[in-house]
């Protein structure tokens, strides 16, 4: 596929990648840290403490 997409012209302007686009070592480091650390159960902000479903009696679709 690269053969077909190859440009057949040259541009004068030198294109430099912005620094934001490339992950910094700190970003990489934090990403790696985040993949290894954390809790044993999720926390969902601003959703209360317990959700019993949408049923009027609060039990949801099955009665457990």
């Amino acid at each position: 596929m690269n053969e077909y997409l190859k440009g057949n012209y040259k541009v004068d302007a030198k294109i430099e990648e912005s620094e934001d686009a490339a992950p910094t070592s700190t970003d990489e480091f934090e990403k790696k840290a985040l993949s290894r650390l954390g809790g044993s159960i999720c926390f969902v902000s601003k959703k209360g403490f317990i959700w019993k479903g949408d049923g009027a009696d609060g039990t949801g679709t099955k009665d457990r």
Partner: protein, 330 residues
């Protein structure tokens, strides 16, 4: 912002990404054993009145002899313990009304219930290294053997509030020792979103979803007020940190932090002064996140939460700190 705090602030999303798959896999395996909802606990006579003590397993539990003091005082309210504090309770003859377990880890958590299959020290040094229960650090095989017997002796008197994410090995051990299981789903995400995992899970198994706050201690506190309806709740052993003088290698996430931070290991740790004791406690990004979450949840909770831990980092305007005796005798 310090590196440790910056990582802590991003752990909600990271936790969801890391554990949702394991939790859902465990739910599938656990589903044949689901008979009772955690909501059934609300109608059971679990202690008197509207007061409860939540027993977590932080180092202050031992430093302050909190379980012994609770057992001696003849507290008549409700006692809810996390799985890792079960051994400490039973060794003092204190039988919690409810034990809470959530962690999907396939191997480790069963040890808090006594693992009948453990015959030699585990290659995993988790129990020897950290100090949630020092008996395991001293001689883990002997400690495990004693705990197996204790749990077998008391099993029929124990009720377990089990997250559907709990490891099947834990569920098997609970059932084998005669415990009664009351189930709930962890709230994995915003149930109002159309593609919500929590909503789908609830539709499939009919169980309520509890917002777990990142860890079993906070989940136990949520259960105590949102399910059992207790209105005055004391916390013991809820440190979210390591006692002064704890070496980095004795902390819970040390292997991960050492591998990740290398020479910058010290930057991962955060120091917090406890205004009651005047001590400076050590904490890491995960525990620091638990603390922030707890404060956020405590602001919304329809209960009074009193910290009787007498240590740790859970100190803030949302939570009054008193001694355990003051709480029990008011």
């Amino acid at each position: 912002m310090e590196l440790g705090r910056r990582i802590a602030s991003r752990l909600a999303a990271a936790t969801a990404e890391r554990i949702t798959g394991a939790g859902l896999d465990n739910e599938k395996q656990n589903r044949p054993h689901i008979e009772h909802s955690v909501l059934d606990l609300a109608s059971l006579p679990l202690g008197e009145g509207d007061r409860a003590v939540v027993v977590a397993a932080g180092p202050s539990l031992r430093r302050r002899d909190s379980v012994k003091r609770l057992a001696r005082a003849g507290f008549t309210g409700t006692i809810v313990a996390v799985d890792s504090a079960l051994g400490a309770c039973l060794r003092e003859g204190l039988v919690p009304h409810v034990v809470v377990t959530v962690d999907p880890h396939p191997e480790r958590i069963v040890r808090w219930f006594g693992d009948p299959d453990l015959k030699a020290p585990s290659r995993d040094d988790y129990f020897r290294r950290q100090e949630m229960d020092r008996t395991h650090a001293e001689d883990e095989v002997a400690a495990n053997r004693k705990l197996v017997k204790l749990v077998d002796d008391y099993g029929a008197r124990l009720r377990v509030a089990a997250a559907t994410s709990a490891a099947p090995k834990v569920v098997e051990r609970c059932r084998q020792s005669g415990m009664r299981l009351y189930w709930w789903n962890p709230m994995y995400d915003d149930y109002d979103k159309p593609d919500s995992v929590s909503r789908r899970l609830h539709r499939e198994n009919g169980l309520p979803c509890l917002n777990g706050g990142g860890n079993v201690g906070t989940a136990a506190w949520v259960l105590t007020h949102a399910v059992l309806g207790r209105r005055r709740i004391a916390l013991i052993g809820m440190d979210f940190g390591y006692a002064p003088g704890t070496k980095y290698e004795q902390t819970q996430y040390y292997p991960e932090l050492r591998e990740l931070f290398g020479d910058r290991l010290d930057e991962a740790f955060i120091r917090v002064e406890n205004p009651v004791t005047g001590e400076t406690w050590l904490t890491d990004p995960a525990y620091y996140w638990f603390r922030d979450v707890f404060f956020e949840m405590a602001r919304e909770a329809d209960c009074e939460t009193v910290n009787c831990t007498e240590g740790g980092i859970l100190c803030g305007p949302e939570i009054k700190a008193v001694t355990l005796e003051e709480f029990m005798h008011v």
